[in-house]
Every structure is written in C-alpha cells, then in structure tokens.
Amino acid sequence: MSDSPGALEQAPPVDGGGVPLAVVRGEPQFELPEDLYIPPDALEVFLDAFEGPLDLLLYLIRRQNLDILDIPIASITRQYMEYVELMRELRLELAAEYLVMAAMLAEIKSRMLLPRPVSEEEESEDPRAELIRRLQEYERFKQAAEEIEALPRLGRDVFQAVIAFPDRQVRQCQPDVGLDELMRALHEVLRRADLFSSHHVEKETLSVRERMASVLERLDGEGFTEFTRLFDLAEGRMGAVVTFIAVLELVKESLIELVQSDNFAPIHVRARSAA
C-alpha cells in the first residue's frame, strides 16, 4: 500500500528491511494484515452494525490491530470513504454525521501532507489529535455499555423471589391532618365567601355552637324534654349561660321549639324536625 504520508510518519527506518508499513506497539509491521481491506459486500453486512462514524472508524482501526495513536490516516480515510460510497450506492439513508466525518478525515489527511514547521512545534497540534480524543472518548463509553449489558439483570440472569401470601389482610390507613391545614381550608373558604366582613360570623363563640350541637343531639327523636334537664349544674354559671344562649340560638334558627302548656308550668323542648 502506497500510503506515503502515514508510512512516512509511522515508520522509523529499520536497518536491512526497507520501510515498514506501520508500527504496532513498537513493532514495525512489514506486511499488510490480511483483513486490512474490507470487501464491499462484507460492508453491507455491517451496515446496521455501526453506531455512527466514530464506531465505524474504531472498527477500521481495530481490524488492523492498531492503537488509536497509530492511525494510518490515509488508508483509514480511503476505507471510510469506500464505506460511505457504498452506502450511497445502496441508496441507504446516510446520516449526515458520516459525511461530516468524511470531510474531517479529508482535512486531516491534507494537513498531514503539508510539511510541518519545525520551529513552531508547540503551536502546531497534530491534526489527528482531536480525532483521537473523540475516538478514545467514544470507545470508553462503548465499552462501558458492553459492560453494563453484561451485568446480571433482573429477569434475565437473576430472578426476584416471590411467594404466595394467602392470609393477606387489607387495612386502610387514614390521612393525617394538621390543625393548620384545617385552618387554611377555612381561611380559603371564608375568603371566597367573603365572610370575614360578616359580623354575624365574627361574634359567635364556638362554645355556643358546640352546645347547640349537643343540645340538638340530645333532643333529636326523643319527643319533649324538660327544659331544665338541658342544664348540667356541675358546669356552673358559665355552663348554664352557654346552654341558655345555645337554646335561644336554636329557637332563632327554628331548630327547636319550646312549649309551655300553662303559665309557670314546666317548659318543654323538642327538636322541630322530630315533630
């Protein structure tokens, strides 16, 4: 193979031998590896096997047992172009990335043909360096993907153990509620109903409301109850006042009725709804 730029760069002159084609791990190679050239019909087989231009390049390099650093850029470029050409011939949808890579390879090749200014070695980066970086970077993740693929997987290599549970009981748990949540809910509903401005709500004491409920509950469905039995002497004067206000409020809301059969006769109370 007359790969003069690649050979020029990679082949140190070795005594008695002519020019080696490449140096692999420090060993000069004088003969072409048999699989260096991939026949086009074989390429077809690999058509779907490559994950993009980097993958294809890696394949071409590895087929020659070369290190990434030893890329014989001219021959690799030629092989790459053949692949791309084949894809075109087969009118396969060629991802734009392949063409971008082709252009990049061509550029590297042309730059390597140019003589390198010896004085400015620091500044003139080898044109292959960026390509090599990308190949290395891609290769490590390609390999990582293979290793992840090989990890034991649930359902393929290991199986979750599960046994029957005939005595299963279903319990329901109830949500926890904080008082602050309740207050926020009330705040929201009152704000919407614009009840903050209502004196009617504002001045009510809750103990009266509570007592209204308990009086009502005691009366519900019982027929008449003697008024005095609604009071619990143990609660004292305040208790009596609260009950009394509660009864008045219940009367006002038409929830109970008071009945007195005669003057000074005992007052009876009953729930209106019980009638």
């Binding site: 046994i163 319990r171 949540e181 903050f196 504002e202 809750l206 409301r209 009502l216 509950e217 709804s273």
Partner: protein, 232 residues
C-alpha cells in the same frame, strides 16, 4: 438426607421465581429432556425442602395444583402491612367542609354548599362520618329534613383540643392567610436566584403548601411516598 442438593435448590429456586404453584410435571420440565428426575425424586426433594422451612418465615404447601411456597400464617400480621394503603391527603373540598362544620355547627349540607359555592360530594360527608369526626345531631325542619352535622369528641381529641373554643378565632385565621401570603412571597423570592441543579437521587422540591391542597392522585402519591421512604 440423600437428596441431591442441586435438585432441592433447583426446585426451591423455581418455586421462588415462579411465585405460584408448580405441578410435579412443571418441575420435571425444568430439566433437559432425558435428564428429568422422576416423581419420587421430586417428592423426596420437596419433602426435604419442607423440613428446611420448619421454623422459618415461609412454608412449603401442597395444594391441588402441586406445590407452592407461602408465608407462614403466624407472620401474616406483619407482612400484611406491606399492603397497607398509604394514606393520601384529604381533598381541599373535604377540609373546607370539615372546617365549616366545626365553626358553623350544627349545619346542613345545603348550608355548607351555600358558603362554599359548590355542591358537597356525598363521599366527603361519608368519609368524615366514617372517620368519626362528624356526626348527625338532628334534622332541620324544612322540606327534605336535611341532616344537621356537628363535630364529635373524636374530632377534638384528634386535633388535641379540649373544646371548640380552643380552635383559632376567625381573626387569627385571617392573619394566617396573610402569613401564608408572606411565606409564599418569600419562597418565590428565594427560588428565583436558585439555579443549582438537583443532584442525582434527589427528590424534586416539594410544592408550595397550596399545591398540597389539590385533590390527590393516590397512585402517584403512593409512589412518591415509597421513593421518599427509600431515600431516607
């Protein structure tokens, strides 16, 4: 104890992986044609397995279709908790209904609806009654005789109150609204300059309190809860 260890282990592995009853035929079919153990060998291995499980959390049970490994009944009470329904959150509608019953009792459903401006789902009242936070204390004497709802002692106990008087006053609730607004403003300001990315494994930020009032999608919540538990 002449049972071949591999056979016993293979059967154990298969029964555990299957998670259901396997017949002797199914067990024999695990082996390459020609290499199937006969039924006597299978039974012997299963018998050994049954013995291994003495005093363990599981047992080998022979049922009509074959054999299965199952949880020992004596551990059911603990294991059952795995399926305890994760408590969700109550909807805003429920919380508002409860608050109105607490502050305006005795109150009918119609009156609650009037204040809230929307109808109250029967399910909400049912939930509150089942929770024993709310009871019917009578009926209003109007057409339809609607039930009058009031809160219960259990309601007070749950919220740590001795009486309804200990509930915050409406004035305090109004202030609460203002505090909320301030907090939200602060939160909004605090989040504005934040650009740090959540790290892998971190949960997304919890929503603002108002978002939590939305009716929950229980399935999602359950998942979140589990994830959160796992992350702790």
């Amino acid at each position: 104890m002449s049972v071949q260890e591999p056979l016993k282990n293979i059967l154990e592995a298969a029964l555990l992986a299957a998670g259901k009853t396997l017949s002797l035929e199914q067990m024999a079919a695990l082996f390459a044609a020609g290499g199937e153990p006969d039924k006597a060998a299978l039974r012997e291995a299963l018998e050994a397995l049954r013995g291994d499980y003495e005093g363990r959390g599981m047992e080998l049970k022979q049922v009509a279709g074959g054999y299965r490994i199952q949880v020992r009944a004596e551990y059911a009470q603990w294991v059952s908790r795995l399926w305890d329904e994760k408590p969700g959150r109550y909807s805003r509608a429920l919380m508002e209904t409860l608050a109105l019953i607490a502050y305006r009792q005795p109150i009918t459903r119609g009156e609650i609806e009037e204040i809230r401006g929307v109808s109250v789902n029967t399910y909400i009242i049912k939930t509150l009654m089942e929770r024993e936070w709310v009871r019917v204390v009578g009926h209003r004497d109007v057409p339809g005789r609607p039930a009058l709802y009031a809160t219960t002692r259990a309601f007070l106990d749950y919220f740590g109150l001795r009486s309804l008087d200990e509930l915050p006053t409406l004035a305090e609730i109004r202030d609460l609204g203002e505090i909320d607004r301030e907090l939200q403003q602060q939160a909004a300001e605090a989040s504005a300059p934040r650009s740090g990315l959540p790290l892998a494994g971190e949960e997304p930020e919890p929503g603002l309190p108002d978002a939590a009032n939305e009716p929950p999608d229980d399935r999602n919540r359950e998942k979140q809860d589990i994830e959160k538990q796992g992350a702790e």
